[in-house]
Structure formats: structure tokens, C-alpha cells
């Protein structure tokens, strides 16, 4: 007989209680994994930003436009490598629930965003065709877009029927690169604005500014904003990271609450496992006295109790972690299409779940171990549970 067998037999002594405890841990780890995934995905949009990119927008809000004329002026600032104007087009594709970012941008967007991998051939075709668009691999897969397909959008910010032809599909360079965008020519939008709504022509919502040296981002930002001080459209330039953080800060309180909740779940399950272990240890007070009488040392008893606690925690944690993957996948399916630009379990979430499982197993055993070791043999034999 091995000690592990004894640990296993002890753990299964009260099958219902152990099963319910394991089930509790399983559910807690799934909930933890799901919440952490949402939180980390939310913040990974910030992590996906590049240090050498700045965003210049109207100082009041990015919904107010900036003139085309700013582009050359920004480009003239020392240290600026590339400037790309962009407009948030929005629009509706078939149904409002089909949400994905639609952006009109200058053609150098693929230079400013090198993590959007587009083949040279596709880019050349895209460049030549007025109503061409490029879509991210994720939405291409999701909506089954292929090269040559027509995409018709019903404009809302820019009213009317807008027809596009898919001429490229960009691949994400990194796991957290947003591959859910549809990009088309800013000129195409602008030409139609000139013809239909001249007052809205020659404008962008923001400029994406690529700089040579990320260490000079503050200085360059100040220089850009200084150029447009006291103009009708004063600018606010900040790093892409700060811009994205500002974007998600509206949801900050909810995300913070989810973050806290994920750890509170672990705290609750710690109490559940600790309660199970305390009950088990209390019931076995006489048995521990027997073990001590037979010559089992404090280390042996610690191993028995800790082993049982770890076994229960690891079984629950392991099952929970294994089920987290299909649950997260199901959650993604249940969410409106394109709600998250990408949705996957980050390695840090898995690591945290494993650490939480081990910590629960360890901490839940502390009090029972202390009690078992602290009880004298003779008191153990007198104990009536």
C-alpha cells in the first residue's frame, strides 16, 4: 500500500461531500477562467498597441473631424515617419448585429500597422481599385468573405448604399492583433462626400502617426499639438496605448468589478475546500492519534492531510480548467459577432487558474494540519466527534 493510496481512499471516504467540493472547485475555476479571459482580452487591446504610434485627434473628442490639411503639417514634424488619416465609417452590414470595425484610411495604413499582414499582390490590386476593401482574417472566416466578394453597407454616419469589393484579406501578425477590421480607401469616401455632402469632405476623424523613436513620443506629441494651438480644430496627440486606454476606460468600472469578482470566487471556494478539510480532519482526530501512536511523524500527517487537500483541489481545478476551454468557446459563440476583436484564453489565465488551484489546496490544509499536529495523542483518543 502506498501513502498515495491512503490519501485517495481518505478523499473518497465521503463520496458525496468530496464530489460536491470538487464540483464547486470546477465551477469556480470555470467562472474564474471566463472572467479572467474577458478581463485580459479587454486589456490585451491595449497590449496590442505599438509604442511607436501616436494618435492625433480633435482635442474635444475624436468624433469631431480634423482637416486633411493637417496631414502634411504633422508629417513635417521631425521624428514623424508616417501619417495615416482615418475615418470611423461604421454602417450596417445586412443586420445591426453584424458588428465589425469599418474604417476608411489612407493606403499607407499597412505601413503604419505592419502587424496587419497583407500580401504585396493583394495590396497592389487593392490600391488600384476605387471601391476595394481589405478585411481581417477573422471576419473573413466568420462571414465567409472571399476575394472578389461584394460587401454592401448601409451607411449611417455616412448615409447611403456603399458597395465594396473584397480585394485582400490581411492576416494578424500576433495572437492579439485585431483581425476583425474592414479597411477601405479614404479617397473613395471623400470623393462621395465631395459630391453629396461637401461640408463633410476633406476630413478625417484621427491621424495615426508613426514615429522613429518611441522615447520621443511625448516631445513629438507636444510639437504636433502646438502647431494647431488656437486653431478651429485644436488637436490632442497621445500614444496609441493611451488612446486605447481612454477608449476602454468607459467600461473600466465593470472590468475592475469583474477582475475583483474573479478573485473573490477563488476566495469563496477556498472557504468551501477548507470547510471540507476541517470536517474531514475533525472526524479523523482518533485516526490521527492512531497514526501518531504507530510512529507516524508530524511530516507524515502533514503529507496525508495536505495530499488529500491537494488531490481534491487539483481534481476540481483540473476538470475546471479542461472545461474552461469549451465554455469560453461557447461564450464567444453566444456573444454578438465581432463584439470582441479576438477571444482566447491567455496563458496567464491558465497559469493563474493553476496557481489558484494549488493555493486553495495548500491554504485549505493549513488549519486541519495545525489541529492534527497540535492535538496530543491521549486527547485524540478521548475525542468524541
Amino acid at each position: 500500500m502506498k501513502v498515495f493510496k491512503l490519501i485517495f481512499k481518505n478523499a473518497l471516504r465521503h463520496k458525496l461531500r468530496t464530489s460536491l467540493t470538487i464540483l464547486g472547485i470546477t465551477i469556480a475555476i470555470i467562472a474564474f477562467g471566463l472572467l479572467r479571459t474577458v478581463v485580459t482580452i479587454w486589456y490585451s487591446t491595449v497590449d496590442a498597441t505599438m509604442a511607436n504610434r501616436l494618435i492625433t485627434r480633435q482635442s474635444v473628442s475624436f468624433i469631431f473631424p480634423l482637416p486633411f490639411a493637417y496631414k502634411d503639417k504633422i508629417q513635417s514634424v521631425p521624428g514623424v515617419a508616417n501619417v495615416c488619416g482615418a475615418v470611423w465609417f461604421q454602417g450596417v452590414y445586412k443586420d445591426k448585429s453584424n458588428f465589425f470595425a469599418r474604417i476608411a484610411a489612407d493606403d499607407n495604413i499597412f505601413e503604419v500597422y505592419p502587424e496587419f499582414l497583407l500580401s504585396k499582390e493583394e495590396f497592389n490590386v487593392y490600391k488600384k481599385q476605387r471601391n476595394a476593401c481589405v478585411v481581417g482574417a477573422s471576419i473573413a472566416k466568420q462571414y465567409n468573405f472571399k476575394i472578389g466578394d461584394q460587401i454592401v453597407l448601409e451607411g449611417d454616419i455616412f448615409p447611403g448604399r456603399w458597395e465594396f469589393e473584397v480585394r485582400g484579406i490581411y492576416q494578424p501578425k500576433n495572437k492579439n492583433t485585431d483581425a476583425t477590421q474592414m479597411i477601405f480607401h479614404l479617397d473613395y469616401l471623400n470623393e462621395r462626400m465631395k459630391a453629396e455632402t461637401p461640408a463633410r469632405a476633406n476630413q478625417v476623424f484621427w491621424y495615426m502617426v508613426q514615429i522613429d523613436n518611441p522615447n520621443r513620443s511625448a516631445q513629438i506629441s507636444n510639437q504636433i499639438d502646438a502647431m494647431f494651438k488656437n486653431s478651429t480644430a485644436e488637436t490632442k496627440t497621445e500614444t496609441e496605448k493611451a488612446f486605447t486606454q481612454g477608449f476602454i476606460s468607459a467600461s473600466g468600472a465593470i472590468i475592475t468589478a469583474m477582475n475583483w469578482m474573479s478573485f473573490m470566487i477563488i476566495g469563496i471556494i477556498l472557504l468551501v475546500v477548507a470547510n471540507t478539510m476541517i470536517m474531514s480532519a475533525r472526524e479523523r482526530t482518533r485516526e490521527y492519534a492512531v497514526f501518531k501512536t504507530l510512529g507516524f511523524s508530524a511530516l507524515h500527517l502533514t503529507g496525508l492531510i495536505l495530499g488529500e487537500s491537494m488531490l481534491i483541489a487539483c481534481l476540481g481545478g483540473g476538470i475546471g480548467l479542461a472545461l474552461t476551454f469549451p465554455v469560453v468557446s461557447g461564450f464567444e459563440q453566444a456573444m454578438p459577432k465581432g463584439f470582441f476583436p479576438f477571444f482566447f484564453i491567455e496563458p496567464i489565465t491558465i497559469a493563474l487558474a493553476v496557481i489558484a488551484t494549488l493555493l486553495v489546496g495548500l491554504l485549505a490544509a493549513i488549519f486541519p494540519i495545525q489541529r492534527a499536529l497540535g492535538t496530543k495523542i491521549v486527547d485524540g483518543f478521548r475525542f468524541v466527534g
Binding site: M1, L6, V290, F296, A298
Partner: protein, 223 residues
Amino acid sequence: MSAIIQVKNLSKSYWRNSLEIPVLHDITLDVQEGEFLALMGPSGSGKTTLLNLIAGIDRPTNGEVTVAGTDIAKLGESALAKWRSSNVGFVFQFYNLIPVLTAFENVELPLLLTKLSKSERRKHVEATLNIVGLGDRMAHYPKQLSGGQEQRVAIARAIVTDPVILVADEPTGDLDRKSAEEILTLIDRLNKEFKKTVIVVTHDPHAAEKASRKLHLDKGDLV
């Protein structure tokens, strides 16, 4: 015969809050190697406490307990645990078997602390269970055994490491007359045939009849 157990000026008190409750007063006794000693006395006389002190599962307030040359009162906790594992076999009134382990596994428990291999442990356990007459009950769990059989498993567990002394606290206290007789015969056999030094605590005169010497305790004193 030489004294394998020497108890000198042994006293034991328990404390309840700040109140001292003396249990044993200045006990001195020798137990010879191979002796079968019965400790008798009414409830509360201190006989179980004396047995616990000799077996090293309790600490004296004053005095010495020397077993096979070792003053066990001076051993630290882990040294004392190690000493118990190889020197003392303990039989309890309520058997105290581990319910999730089979008879074989219960008897094997003390051997897990030795360096014996699995096959050696198996040989020892099988031989010991055969001695107590339970060779055919090895795979049975305690709840599948009668009280007498459980106590025989407990005796097998107590002797499997071939300890220097075998101590038994009311070993027949929870058994019917027939089973009690079988257990007493088995203990007597272990003493006579296997030359084990045995100390039995009992308040049953019939149980004490098997012993070669009887000592009476009353209110913590040997009388």
C-alpha cells in the same frame, strides 16, 4: 530475567484551567523481559495513564521511564515517534483500525515506516495475520469483520514490527465473552510462545488471570 521497563518516581498531573489534577503519584516499578503484567484498578485509578507513559504516548510530569535502556521521557517528539514505531505495539479497547483500509493494509501501516520492500512487507503482514488466525480475511475491511476479528487485526498491527513491548488497554472491554477469551489466549500465546513482554490494563479479574503478575492502582498509587 532483566528489567526491560524501569519506572522511577513517576508522577503525572493534568491541568484543567489552572487546577492541577494529580493522576499518578511517585510510581516506581520494574517489568522484566518476557513478563505478562496486568495493571488493575477501578476507573480513574491511573492505570491507562501509566500504560500511556510506558508506551511513550504521553509525557510524565516527573520521574523516569526507561524502556530497553532508553529514557523515553527525554526524547523529542519525532525521536519518540520513531522509538514507538520500533519498540511498542499498542492494542486499544476499540481496535482503532482505519476503516478505509483492509485488514492487510491496516497491518501493513507500521511497516510503511520501515525500509522493507513491498514483497518483504507482504511476507511480514501475511505471517502476522496467520499468527492471529486471519489469513483468510486479509482483503476484508473492518466493517466486514466481527469485533473479535477486528481486535485480532489490531493485535497483528501491534506485533507486525516485532516490538520490544506489547501494551493493551482493556483489549477485551468491547468484546463478548467468547471473543474476549480468544483475544486473551492470543495475547497469552504471544507472551509465552513469542516471548513478548506484555502489559495489559484491565479491570476484569478474569482477563488478568492470564498475567504472570498483577499490580493494582488506586487513586494514582500502586497498592
